[in-house]
Amino acid sequence: MTFFAVSGLTMAFGGLRAADDVSFEVVKGEIYAIIGPNGAGKTTIFNCINGIYPPTEGKIIFKDKNIRGHSPDRVAKAGIARTFQNIELFSNMNTMENIMLGRHLFMKTGLFRGALMWGKKSFAGKEEIENRRKVEEIIDLLELQSFRNKIVGALPYGIQKKIELGRALAAEPELLLLDEPCAGMNAEEKQDVVFWIKDIQDELGITILLIEHDMNMVMDISDRILVINFGRQIAEGRPDQVSVHPEVLKAYLGAEEEVDGQNQVSSSQKQA
């Protein structure tokens, strides 16, 4: 069975190919990282997987089913959750409610049963209690207890990142997409995140697909790494293989020959 595979994924914005014939496969249970310079097309790949962008070409296989072109909520239902590079929390809700939204797919209360919630014994009441208990477990795991009832918009950046991770975990995904989980964090906070990602992999058995710029961290926790530049994949393999790959060194440390000027411009536009 194919757990998760992307093959020939191409995302073209007009003439710009933000992702160009990208193929990789993620094995169940591993931590798989996608790295590349700014504007390489990493987040575009995530957005295609999620259904936020409709890919121009290619296949996205999740548990033997092609999920390419599915709407984001259907992708979520299939068992893929994600976090965002620039935090996308519901800034006027508190931590509890934010993570509760991760339980959305597990709750059956609709408009009517919700409106008629009357006491603990009602359907909606029971479901609220049950799911809040689940959320509390995640709050405990991520040590967010003291922020439980705080409105998230005003919380520190690192905490917000954690809450976003918690919200994704609440959806009990089989595949978790993390878009730069360490961006903007100090060394200590990064340590914590690495620790949690390991925990999520080991204890919750969730497969992780990760985008990250921090090379130390990527080399440390990833089982395999895909390197892309200008939308094309240039290397794939174990951390020790990738770190000595000539193409990767060229992409990160600079090329000897001139890089195609047009590509450079277009990739920076894409990042914006």
């Binding site: 800034s91 959305h104 919700g114 603990k120």
Partner: protein, 349 residues
């Protein structure tokens, strides 16, 4: 105290015994209100109750889901016309007609929600504005609905009782209002309400967490339209006569003003907004009959503005209130209340 003992405390209707006390006190006040106040104030209470229904519904759409609507007078009109027509033509009993009218408005709300899936901000405002203006024009051309002449409401009979006076109608209106407010409050605290807020705050994240945007946006429109439709049905029996001109653009703006003045995104805020602004709306119409001040305003207006301008003074006041709210307290009356509560919390220290 705010100590929580169970997860249910987060969503409990009455968070403590004190809230239960205030709720009972409020119900008692509402019950005895018609015995204490004169007919005019009972009529005013009916007017306020109906506005509360619309504004609570509108707030579910604007305050919670973040979708603007300048067309709520349209749903209100649909509710009013549908209630009367169902009663006179199809001989529905009042409550059945009222619910059906709400559902008809909800269907229109759902249809208006479809284009709203692709429109945001000012574009959505214009689309809903167009809807509000169109619906009254269409109604004005339908002979069965009385055209430009308007429609008279039939007798109001509930389970064999004829409700003829404002006092009798009061209990009906208040019961329905309290019920609808409680339902709205529960909706905002459960799954659907959270999905609404999620769409407002970060719709992409909401989608990737499994919220179906198409479903929930159209649901918000339909739900909001249902509230407006029910309120419209009640309003038809407060006035006993309706015509298309009643449901003009200003009414839509007035609904939105009440919601904003009260505080978007809370259940209590819009209620406060509806009470204060509806009260002002009715009272300021009589401002000229106040001794001294009325005469002074008439003189002022006649010498500096226009001869007839004072009769529309409520619009001037509403405008000023909106500006003041945007400047000083964007959360409206509800924000003011929260601040006061915070200020008094450590009292008497």
């Amino acid at each position: 105290m705010d100590m929580k003992r169970s997860y249910y405390d987060d969503v409990r209707l009455f968070s403590s015994g004190v809230t239960v006390f205030w709720f009972v006190a409020l119900m008692a006040f509402l019950f005895f209100y018609p015995f204490v106040f004169t007919n005019y104030y009972v009529y005013m209470a009916n007017y306020i109750a109906i506005n509360i229904i619309v504004v609570v519904g509108l707030n579910l759409l604007v305050g919670y889901t973040g979708q603007i609507s300048l067309g709520h007078a349209g749903f209100y009109a649909i509710g009013a016309y549908a209630t009367i027509t169902l009663m006179t033509v199809a001989h529905f009993p009042f409550l059945a007609a009222l619910v059906c009218a709400g559902l008809i408005a909800a269907v229109f709300g759902f249809l208006l929600g479809l284009p709203a899936l692709r429109l945001e901000g000012p574009y959505l405002a214009i689309a809903t504005l167009g809807f509000g203006l169109t619906i009254t024009t269409v109604i004005g051309r339908i002979e069965m609905l009385g055209g430009r002449q308007g429609l008279h409401a039939p007798d109001l009979v509930i389970m064999g009782h004829h409700l003829t006076s404002d006092r009798q109608f009061y209990y009906l209106a208040v019961t329905i209002t309290v019920l609808l407010v409680l339902l709205a409050r529960n909706i905002t605290k459960t799954k659907v309400g959270r999905a609404f807020i999620a769409i407002r705050d970060a719709h992409i994240a909401a989608e990737t967490m499994g919220v179906n945007l198409v479903l929930y946006k159209t649901m918000a429109f339909a739900l909001s339209a249902f509230y407006a439709g029910v309120a419209g049905g009640l309003y038809a029996f407060v006035l006993r006569f309706i015509e298309p001109e009643l449901f003009n653009l200003f009414l839509s703006v007035f609904f939105l003003t009440m919601a904003v003045a009260g505080g978007l995104g809370s259940v209590m805020g819009p209620i406060a907004g509806a009470i204060v602004l509806s009260f002002l709306d009715l009272q300021l119409r009589n401002i000229l009959s106040i001794p001294y001040i009325g005469d002074w305003l008439r003189d002022l207006s006649a010498s500096y503005f226009s001869l007839t301008g004072v009769s529309n003074i409520q619009f001037v006041i509403f405008g000023s209130i909106l500006i003041a709210i945007m400047l000083f307290e964007p959360l409206g009356l509800y924000g003011l209340w929260i601040r006061m509560k915070k200020y008094w919390k450590p009292w008497p220290f």
